[in-house]
């Protein structure tokens, strides 16, 4: 057991998995000699050589397309996109190709790729280095979409993603990379894909969230103790499949639900979660479902004041919780 950051957890897991399985290789821009823009693959070139840690030209569509081609042919590639904002040229390959391979070949082929994508804002990244892109992938049947928030979950879920036989879009919130530290076992434990987790038990209200927002929600839950509110915090961790069972269980217990996300609101993860609650918890709800999200503007403005205005924060979360409980 050691205390490490999210980025270290990612690196360590890739390292261990590559040791275990020779079919795994990495490709992406600057992943080899530079070790990746965020250093997620630092040191891997030295250990595994340039056949397995491959710098690519600047071409996202081909990075993903080539990974898919190799996966269909029996390899287990891990592709890195430098920032989520750069993934759009590859959408044709991920959404158009990878998601349909199993279905379109009557189960004869599989496509075991993991596409690692740093996403999210609050880092002064402005309009093109801050985006949340999860919805497009989470909307696509045939893909799995994972969004861990802690080092423990990042390692356990990444391991499962790499070992999983389906295409996985693995989203790493770039602000958590160095900010969030936690205990991670040294063994090769894994966390099943598609399972949410209650990160704090409570009984007055369920706050459902994922990614960076988990940490703000946990802080807000601490603060709410001063108001006599006992918050249950549910971390989705996986956006497809989404764990409706855990959501429903928790909301049926507390009777109140607040959904907090960094992405804009319309047609988003929060829409899906709200629909699940509306469908399955109707008779146990004591208050309407509430969502705390940014407004519908392109994520996200550069100026620090505007960025802060855009992002949900601990203060905004506490306010929403108190509004919902009328305390």
């Amino acid at each position: 057991m050691s205390v490490i950051s999210v980025i270290e957890a990612v690196r360590k897991t890739i390292f261990m998995e590559m040791k275990r399985d020779k079919k795994i290789f990495i490709l992406g821009e600057d992943v080899a000699s530079r070790g990746g823009v965020f250093l997620a693959t630092d040191g891997l070139l030295e250990e595994f050589g340039d056949q397995r840690v491959i710098d690519t030209p600047l071409a996202e569509s081909s990075i993903c397309g080539v990974a898919i081609g190799a996966a269909v042919n029996g390899m287990r590639p891990i592709a890195e996109i430098q920032f989520a904002d750069f993934v759009w040229p590859a959408i044709n390959q991920i959404v158009g190709e990878a998601s349909k391979i199993r279905y379109g070949t009557f189960g004869k082929k599989k496509c075991p790729i993991t596409i690692r994508i740093p996403y999210g804002g609050g880092v002064r990244g402005g309009l093109y280095h801050s985006q949340s892109i999860e919805v497009l992938f989470a909307h696509t049947p045939g893909l799995k979409v994972i969004a861990p928030a802690t080092p423990y979950d990042a390692a356990g879920l990444l391991r499962s993603s790499i070992r999983n036989d389906d295409p996985v879009v693995f989203l790493e919130h770039k602000k958590t990379y160095r900010l969030v530290k936690g205990e991670v076992p040294d063994n090769d434990y894994s966390i099943p894909l598609g399972k949410a987790e209650v990160k704090k038990v409570g009984n007055d209200i369920t706050v459902i969230t994922y990614g960076l927002m988990l940490h703000y929600v946990l802080q807000a839950a601490e603060e709410c103790k001063h108001f006599g509110i006992n918050v249950e915090v549910l971390d989705l961790r996986c956006l497809r499949p989404i764990d409706s069972e855990t959501i429903v269980q928790s909301v049926n217990k507390t009777g109140r639900a607040l959904i907090v996300q960094e992405d804009t609101r319309a047609i988003s993860v929060s829409s899906e979660v709200a629909a699940i609650i509306a469908e399955d918890c109707f008779f146990d709800l004591d208050a309407p479902i509430k969502r705390l999200t940014p407004i519908e503007i392109p994520p996200m403005p550069f100026s620090p004041i505007q960025e802060a205005e855009y992002m949900p924060s601990k203060i905004k979360i506490v306010k929403s919780i108190r509004e919902l409980l009328e305390i």
Binding site: R124, I295, S303
Partner: protein
């Protein structure tokens, strides 16, 4: 198709004194703007990531010397040089980088999004390759309108961007449609830490143009006169309806990829020293004073003027207010409503 340098050197003497002044002051303005921007970045006043282009000034300046406000350019993440060469005001640029309300984009964009349509500047662009077809689109409009003195469009992009499919699509269609476009590839040898000898399948990027039926030239990007001459031909070709030209501008960025990047991790000091010995400002100074076109007093005067301008620009930015709260909601749509903003 290629020109050698000596051919260019002979022609450069014919540049008017006014233009010469403009070339030097623009290059110096870019240099000092970015040096000051970096100081401000490290002081914490300019936020976010900035990509300095020092070393590369001759490219945008030598090309934009032939353009007017009616001509368009599309730019990149490394766009300050393009902006300044296209005549954008440095005070508003500095304000944008500091996220102030007086910036070109009212602080919403930052360094990588500075745009000014009144100057024909379509915008810096943080997505590698994304601005190329936008410039081509501007050129298509020009052809459509068929105005007398056809506007031209320049797509600036780096060696790294040549690996993106969109460049190849753009080259093909602008060739079949004979659009007034100049593809200006600033080859500084690196895309982040990836050297172009590794990532680009030829050391003669300009030769790729041939495959699309476009003339391609390699130009010494450390020498503003070489760029100036090559761009003159390219712009002439475009304006007369003969179609696109591809210029590969061989250059170098003195800094790392962005303000905090250490280039020593992936390139050699000798390489940096070599390009610095060919610095566009120094070689310009030597050239014009030796040939008696300008005196060192002339150059000094220009430098002093620019120092003053950049100082004022910095003060302007530092004393400008941050954007209003209401700005956040503005300009998502041309006409907007609460429902479009998701408000009830």
């Amino acid at each position: 198709m290629k020109k050698n340098k000596s051919e260019n050197e002979k022609k450069s003497v014919s540049i008017s004194p006014k233009k010469l002044r403009w070339l030097y002051s623009s290059m110096y303005r870019i240099r000092r703007f970015e040096e000051t921007m970096l100081e401000q970045t490290f002081k914490g006043n300019a936020m976010g990531v900035t990509h300095p282009s020092d070393g590369q000034e001759a490219g945008p300046v030598g090309i934009c010397a032939h353009l007017t406000d009616k001509d368009w350019i599309g730019s990149t993440h490394r766009g300050h040089g393009h902006c300044i060469a296209k005549g954008l005001e440095t005070n508003r640029m500095m304000a944008e980088i500091m996220g102030r309300s007086t910036g070109q984009c009212h602080g919403k964009g930052g360094s990588m999004h500075i745009a000014d349509f009144s100057k024909g500047m379509l915008g810096a662009n943080a997505i590698v390759g994304a601005s190329i077809p936008l410039a081509v689109g501007a050129a298509l409009t020009s052809k459509y309108k068929n105005n007398e003195k056809k506007s031209v469009a320049v797509a600036f992009f780096g060696d790294g961007a040549t690996s993106q499919g969109v460049l190849h699509e753009s080259m093909n269609l602008s060739s079949i449609w004979k659009l007034p476009v100049i593809f200006a590839c600033e080859n500084n040898g690196y895309a982040e830490a990836t050297p172009s000898w590794y990532a680009v399948s030829t050391d003669d990027i300009a030769s790729r143009a041939e495959g699309y039926g476009i003339p391609g030239l390699q130009v010494d990007g450390m020498d503003v006169f070489s760029v100036y001459d090559a761009a003159e031909q390219a712009v002439k070709r475009a304006r007369s309806g003969e179609g696109p030209t591809f210029l590969e501008i061989k250059t170098y960025r003195y800094h790392g990829h962005f303000h905090a990047d250490d280039p020593k991790k992936y390139r050699k000091q000798e390489e940096e020293d070599y390009f610095k010995s060919k610095d566009c400002l120094i070689s310009f100074e030597e050239r014009v004073t030796e040939s008696g076109l300008m005196t060192s007093e002339d150059l000094n005067e220009i430098r002093n003027e620019i120092e003053e301008e950049i100082k004022k620009a910095t003060d302007f930015a530092l004393t400008s207010p941050m954007p209003d709260h209401d700005e956040l909601y503005k300009d998502v749509y041309v006409e907007y409503s609460n429902s479009l903003l998701g408000l009830r």
